[in-house]
């Protein structure tokens, strides 16, 4: 029950942002702001993964967490290399701030859980998080990115994160 409420929180936070106000519309972010959101989202998932490695004893959770660190770091490396090539710096924005604020709350809650309670929370949150971010990338970012190379990297990223979403789904099922 608690888990569901929290997942709803993550989900709703993103949906509100996506559906609502013109001022805070992810579809209106520029390429450098979008890059900042993606970099932030990657780092949040890496932080969740480190928490999982520290608190979980389940080998499947560890395997997933290590994959999250490996893949999100790889994407970040590519993103930074591309920004360097384009001589551009990512720009902080409302969505990056919102994602970070949400993640801090979740990390606070997760770090108090142990055993199966932690595993279930982590797995469900990974599924919800990847779903939410993938929706954002597919519907708000990719159609609006102007730079062709940045767009290509986001398309590659989306394929990776969709595999993560499937993996998270398997992990959630395996914990029931």
């Amino acid at each position: 029950m608690k888990i569901r409420t929290l997942i709803a929180t993550v989900g709703i936070a993103l949906i509100t942002v996506m559906g609502g106000a013109q001022a805070n519309d992810p579809a209106k972010l520029n390429d450098l702001q979008i890059a900042h959101v993606a970099y932030t989202a990657d780092n949040i998932d890496i932080r969740y993964a480190h928490l999982a490695l520290a608190l979980s004893t389940n080998p499947k959770i560890h395997e997933f967490a290590r994959t999250m660190i490996r893949d999100h770091e790889a994407v970040n490396t590519q993103a930074l290399a591309l920004l360097k090539k384009l001589k551009a710096a990512p720009q902080d924005n409302f969505l990056s701030k919102q994602l970070t604020a949400n993640s801090l709350k979740l990390i606070d809650k997760m770090s108090k859980l142990r055993g199966n309670a932690f595993d279930k929370f982590y797995a469900s949150n990974e599924l919800a998080y990847h779903k939410a971010v993938n929706g954002l990338v597919a519907n708000a970012f990719i159609p609006n990115i102007e730079n062709a190379e940045v767009k290509a990297l986001f398309k590659t990223g989306l394929k990776i994160f969709k595999a993560h979403e499937k993996h998270a789904e398997m992990m959630v099922k395996g914990l029931k």
Binding site: E63, D71, Q78, T156, I160, A163, H164, K166, M170
Partner: protein, 121 residues
């Protein structure tokens, strides 16, 4: 008598040719298949898919997995009896086909990635 003998020889000749023609198309390819030189099959790992997903091989062949993605992958037997180990972007690993390679395999890092290896007929 002579013309008859000639005829016989001709008949025999034709018969042999006919038999050879009938048998050769079957025997030669089978012979060539079983004794063909081992070949190397390439499996590309691209966009989180093993390509081809289903591969037909013969013992002694080699399989080379090439990682064309920006993240590491593995090719690992479903029963874990063999494993390429982590393949970094642009890395490749070749394994010679033995019986134990036949069957399903997956990526240890991304278990939704699945493929299989079967015997070529």
């Amino acid at each position: 008598m002579r013309p008859f003998q000639m005829q016989r020889r001709e008949v025999v000749g034709w018969a042999a040719a006919a038999i050879a023609a009938a048998i050769l198309p079957f025997t030669i390819p089978v012979f060539a298949e079983t004794n063909r030189k081992p070949v190397t099959h390439i499996v590309d790992i691209t966009d989180f898919v093993f390509v081809p997903k289903s591969l037909e091989v013969r013992p002694g062949d080699r399989i080379t997995w090439v990682n064309k993605d920006i993240v590491p992958h593995t090719a690992t037997a479903d029963d874990k009896s063999w494993d390429t180990g982590a393949l970094k972007p642009n890395e490749r690993k070749t394994i010679t086909v033995t019986k134990k390679l036949l069957g399903g395999y997956f990526c240890r890092f991304h278990p939704s990635m699945k493929a299989k290896i079967a015997t070529q007929k």
